[in-house]
């Protein structure tokens, strides 16, 4: 056994393709089949699709211009003319809701987008490099985390001027450290996994390790967190508009509508339902979709 046998190169004896049983076609991800099998994802996605369509085609679909006042029909309950009633200035609630959905989706995407773009690379970087960079980075993250997002948004809008975009950039900056912290913790777990060491042993570069192994395996909780954040951002937009720091009247926003309804809660309590349910259902749809995506991305969970 100790004698050095001739190095037989492995490539000399490949299995003839004919000997090999035909492989099943590589399992391609079939989106519609998945969607059909996961009814909760189907419903959430359908709801969100309707919302996007309503936002995009609001000028075409809305029964009334969103700012058209009809002072004869104030605080009307739902009726044939006004399906969801009218507000305290006689504006059609359904139309305002449709125009408001654009602001809601824009606000949520902007805030979460900024959070992802800053937070995920930052978290992977400090987690992967470790050492004093991790120490310093983690302390900074803890410091920023100490600010509640809404308070930060109030401060930023105070400094940069009131407006939805400024407010949502501020919320995005408040989200970034949350995502960075999750990503860092996951990176710390995954980077010590045996399969990462194995890839290192094959001569993989650090970039390969991060992109091929660490990111795909570490990102899962972040995806779930992002869907939760979309809901939080939606509520933040509503809250900031409620505090009149976000969308400015007369432009419509769900939070702003809720704020108005709040003033008339004793006279016309049903005013709260339309914007309130819109916010709640949208947040719920994001969360449900997030859970479905998490299950979809985990090959160890059997689907079907």
């Amino acid at each position: 056994m100790t004698d050095t046998t001739n190095m037989t190169s492995v490539t000399e004896s490949p299995v003839k393709p004919a000997q090999r049983p035909a492989l099943p076609a590589p399992a391609r991800f079939r989106f519609w089949a998945w969607l059909w099998s996961d009814k909760r994802a189907l419903i959430s996605l359908a709801y969100l699709a309707i919302l996007v369509l309503a936002a995009v085609f609001a000028p075409v679909l809305a029964p009334y211009p969103p700012n058209q006042q009809n002072l004869m029909d104030l605080l009307m309950p739902p009726s044939a003319q006004h399906w969801l009633g009218t507000d305290d200035l006689g504006r059609d609630t359904l139309s305002r809701l449709m125009y408001g959905s654009y602001n809601a989706l824009y606000a949520a995407s902007l805030a979460v987008g900024i959070g992802i773009v800053i937070g995920v690379p930052l978290g992977v970087f400090i987690g992967f490099v470790g050492g004093w960079i991790d120490e310093v980075g983690s302390r900074i993250i803890d410091g920023v985390l100490a600010f509640p997002p809404i308070v930060l948004a109030v401060a930023v809008t105070g400094a940069l001027g009131i407006g939805l975009t400024n407010a949502m950039i501020a919320v995005g900056f408040a989200f970034a450290p949350v995502l960075a912290r999750t990503m860092r913790a996951q990176t710390l777990v995954v980077k010590n996994a045996l399969y990462v060491e194995a890839a290192t042993g094959f001569g993989a570069s650090r970039l390969h390790l991060i992109l091929r192994h660490i990111l795909p395996n570490a990102i899962q909780p972040v995806i779930v967190e992002v869907t939760l954040m979309l809901a939080v951002a939606l509520l933040a937009e509503a809250g900031l508009s409620f505090l009149s720091l976000g969308v400015q009247p007369p432009e419509s926003s769900w939070g702003g509508m809720l704020a108005r309804a709040y003033h008339y809660v004793e006279v016309a309590p049903e005013q709260m339902y339309a914007p309130g349910f819109a916010i709640m259902l949208t947040a719920l749809a994001f969360n449900t979709l997030g859970e479905s995506i998490r299950v979809l991305l985990d090959p160890t969970i059997k689907r079907g």
């Binding site: 056994m1 100790t2 004698d3 050095t4 046998t5 001739n6 190095m7 037989t8 190169s9 492995v10 490539t11 004896s13 490949p14 299995v15 393709p17 090999r20 049983p21 492989l23 099943p24 590589p26 399992a27 996994a193 045996l194 399969y195 060491e197 194995a198 890839a199 290192t200 042993g201 094959f202 001569g203 993989a204 570069s205 390969h208 091929r212 192994h213 795909p216 395996n217 090959p299 160890t300």
Partner: protein, 355 residues
């Protein structure tokens, strides 16, 4: 250097290797490998035996460059891999692979077996996509894994199949040296023998050099040409596998040997085990003198103060024990039929019980 081998033949040469973790100033320095020297000939199977915590896995990972030595060095042939830049190292290390202990953790859960087995070639940038797949299937065939497994995810196949795929993956870059770190420890006993035969077959077919790390004496002695016994970061005994197993020259090897179960109950009853006394010492403050003295059945005053040097007692057999000559004399005495020659040694009764 040990073994008296010319450097031309050596596949691996380990010289006074130290690998430490932690921080000396904080008092948390752990010397996992503490002054180890040996060399492995090309085409040889070199066994490393030791209990958990003896530093054998650390040694294995350092041999393939996954850990850097804190002192001393490792030579791959005539090359010092730790002088390389990161880029050169990534290129060089393809020929020095390690097969890890736990096949269940060795695969990315998001990649199919085929993707994982192809990965080394993807990283190296060798061949076209079709060629890589072809080679991957050839490798899976070589380790007797059916092609249907290729499209499965790691959690969908058994531990034994995973370990086969793990070996196939390590072979993808045509390595010359493979460090096998407890490769059968995580497997059922029923497939351990199968796996060891696979390792032997691959070694013969591909002319590989193995460093075979295990805590299991049967495994190591079955497959190895030479073995090294590690205790607490140091090698206490090196020699040809059968010689070390049959006539241990270090009390620790002797104790390990006696702890092995016998096949028949009668033989098991007849055998008196050497039960090691005392606690396993703390890794933070290793014992003075001989590191084994806290548990050694043959301990004397000298052992507590003076660290034994490793010396060649018989041709090719190196021992680090002050009283190895006594053990040699005893075993020779037994061989000549004069059991119990009256050495006034506390451990003598234990040795006799081995026969």
């Amino acid at each position: 250097m040990i073994g008296g081998i010319s450097s031309g033949q050596a596949a691996l040469k380990v010289d006074n290797l130290h690998v430490s973790f932690g921080n000396a100033r904080r008092g948390s320095l752990i010397r996992a490998v503490d002054g180890v020297s040996f060399s492995v000939r090309k085409g040889e199977i070199f066994g490393v035996i030791g209990e958990s915590g003896s530093g054998k896995s650390t040694l294995g990972r350092c041999l393939v460059g996954l850990l850097s030595p804190s002192d001393g060095g490792v030579l791959h042939g005539d090359i010092d891999p730790f002088k390389f830049s990161r880029r050169e190292m990534n290129r060089h290390r393809r020929k020095y692979q390690i097969v890890s202990q736990d096949p269940n953790a060795a695969f990315d859960p998001r990649m199919t077996i085929l993707q994982s087995v192809c990965e080394p070639l993807n990283i190296a940038g060798e061949g076209t996509r079709a060629e890589r797949r072809e080679k991957a299937f050839a490798m899976l065939d070589r380790v007797s894994l059916s092609p249907e497994m290729a499209n499965r995810y790691p959690h969908e196949i058994s531990g034994g199949q995973k370990q086969r795929a793990n070996i196939a993956r390590a072979l993808m870059l045509d390595p010359t040296v493979i460090v096998c770190d407890e490769v059968v420890a995580a497997l059922d006993v029923s497939i351990q023998a199968d796996m060891l035969n696979l390792f032997s077959r691959l070694q013969e077919q591909l002319g590989l050099t193995y460093v075979f790390i295990s805590h299991d004496l049967r495994v190591v002695s079955h497959i190895s040409d030479r073995v090294a016994v590690m205790y607490f970061g140091k090698i206490v005994e090196v020699g040809p596998a059968h010689a070390v197993m049959e006539t241990p020259l270090h009390p620790y090897t002797e104790a390990l040997r006696s702890a092995e179960p016998e096949i028949t109950p009668a033989a098991n009853d007849a055998k008196q085990r050497i039960i090691l006394q005392g606690e396993i010492p703390s890794a933070l403050s290793p014992p003075s003198g001989c590191r084994f003295h806290t548990r050694c059945p043959r301990v004397r005053d000298m052992c507590r103060t003076e660290e034994p040097k490793q010396r060649e007692l018989l041709p090719g057999r190196h021992v680090a024990c002050h009283f190895a000559e006594e053990m040699l004399a005893q075993s020779e005495g037994r061989g000549a039929g004069h059991a119990g020659r009256g050495t006034a040694d506390r451990g003598a009764s234990g040795t006799e019980a081995l026969t």
